[in-house]
Symmetry: D2
Subunit: 133 residues, 4 copies
């Protein structure tokens, strides 16, 4: 299993009036699940040297996510391009996948406001977490 | 112009350490922009009779969205199926599109936990807001 | 009426499983209501020149705040000290006060990491919004 | 040490443009820290039988809370009344207290919309987590 995993406890203020976790909360969980990927690009998570930007994500909700039961976020690399890459992230609760997203991230220079090639060592580090199933 | 529009003032707590609106905030703005669509299905927004569920969304970030300047969310109907439909939503700031999403909504019976055909009068009401460009 | 006022439409993702607006949302609304106060200290809301910090707040919930009905946030100045001041903020829905907070703000130099005296012209601008009832 | 403790990893979307965790985020963390208290009143965290309401909280920010370093939330009981009780909660990061809140909770019957006496066994369970310092 090469996926990064993050365990989260859903918070009461993440529920909505339908009694489930609101759909707009899950992108935040997936962002939290990307922390080890951020660390590949920025080992100290230095906010002054941030070098990733989100180009977009495609998220599908498969089942409700509930309050009162732990959630596991899995994060795998689905594609490695020259300056961008895709992550496949899944949200699991009690053995069931409740949401899945593919997120496109870009290696980005915030000062120059442009994308930059992903260095080879970083590509190799990402490749160790490539989707296997 | 058949699009629904919503004006929002970005909130300070919606920024992140990069100094822009965080990407995870925009799905919440798009949810807010869907209110007139919720009202087509549920005119009094009665939480006890909620009948829509989000199947997923595909969101692309085109440019940073900033604090300190009003945002307009436009919402149009992109597809009307038998039990589901797609909305195209865009976030605009100072004349520039900063994000776009296509969201798939399902007409849903929360008691029976299943989708239901969209009644014809509702289809007609949605059709009045069909994407034109 | 010298209070600053802000109209807000509660968002679906601000509800919680009890069917009301979650208590943790209201501090964010009050922060939004402070925007005209931020502008007194920082007319262009320039994030690079931010000069206020929140020392704390005392918030009381008087009644549930509901989805589906507009909210008005009122903001008044309750105290002006040498480097800090207090704001009294209230959340109103359908004529009823649902929450009230007193927030202490400090005029703050983020570079020097210390408080600074509030200039007299700013004190005068604040004084025009002093609590009257 | 009788305090309940919760470890949290600050999320990127909880930062704001000042580069710290936004002040409006901390009440949500404190709510998360109250989960073991919720379980004393409602062991299965059954949302249909929720029996607590927040009357208010008084929160003080002592120091910035940063992204990139784990946070510990401690929760202790500061007062036990007939139908209400106070919790003292603190947020710690790298050995430093960054925020403290006292929150008043009421044992509440949502159907009858009124407070109810706290049963003696629950008072005893709360008393085991009384503030000691």
């Amino acid at each position: 299993m090469t996926a990064f995993t993050l365990e989260l406890t859903p918070r009461f203020n993440e529920t909505d009036a339908l009694g489930h976790i609101n759909n707009t909360v899950i992108p935040g969980w997936f962002e939290a699940g990307r922390t080890p990927v951020f660390e590949i690009f920025n080992p100290l998570l230095d906010l002054q040297r941030w070098n990733l930007i989100v180009a977009g994500y495609n998220i599908a909700f498969k089942a409700p996510t509930y309050y009162g039961s732990v959630v596991t976020i899995t994060t795998e690399v689905a594609r490695i391009g020259s300056a961008s890459f895709d992550l496949r992230q899944r949200c699991w609760q009690q053995g069931k996948m409740t949401a899945q997203a593919v997120t496109t991230m870009v290696h980005y220079n915030y000062d120059a406001e442009c994308s930059e090639p992903i260095p080879e060592p970083i590509k190799a580090a990402l490749a160790a977490h490539m989707v296997t199933n």
